[in-house]
Symmetry: C2
């Protein structure tokens, strides 16, 4: 929907750890889904560069996203990630966008 807020995290990960990332994602707490304004969250993998992974979340507006990022649920969700896996993931870029047409 026009006005939707979109956050894109670009991750760099060794391609042989992507399966572990997907498994950890599948076992996540899921609390994010109950936060006000949450629309969806997807993990995407580049076809050409399998170590290039995007996490795209969509929210009703930026305030909803910001409230989640400051929440205890977000802190807890990240704390659950296996430290070894966390070390294998580098955040390359964080983008904040709005849907302006569709």
């Amino acid at each position: 929907m026009t006005g939707t807020y979109v956050s894109i995290s670009r991750l760099r990960i060794a391609p042989d750890r992507v399966a572990a990332l997907i498994e950890a994602f599948g076992n996540r707490s899921g609390d994010v889904e109950h936060h006000d304004g949450f629309i969806d969250l997807q993990v995407l993998q580049s076809d050409r560069d399998p170590g290039d992974v995007l996490m795209i979340s969509r929210w009703r507006d930026r305030d909803c996203f910001t409230a989640y990022m400051k929440s205890e649920d977000h802190r807890r969700s990240h704390a659950r990630i296996d430290p070894e896996l966390r070390k294998a993931i580098k955040l390359q870029a964080l983008e904040h966008l709005h849907v302006v047409a569709e």
Copy 2:
């Protein structure tokens, strides 16, 4: 949905032409929406850098996207863009990805 194919075109445009881009997008032929496997198409604008614009389209699989890109509808859709506007838009990067988790 897992397996969904996602194409991201990153455009660079003078911020004062973004309104014209959105208008042209709103007046598009819309033929893409009738192509097999088309899911949706969104235009996103960066919050921090208003000249940084993404066009994200989602498809059932890569073959559907490729078939559309080779179609007469795609050719015609691009030919409809005002030449002056087209000159103001630079394609910076094209990414091909698949949804691996959600």
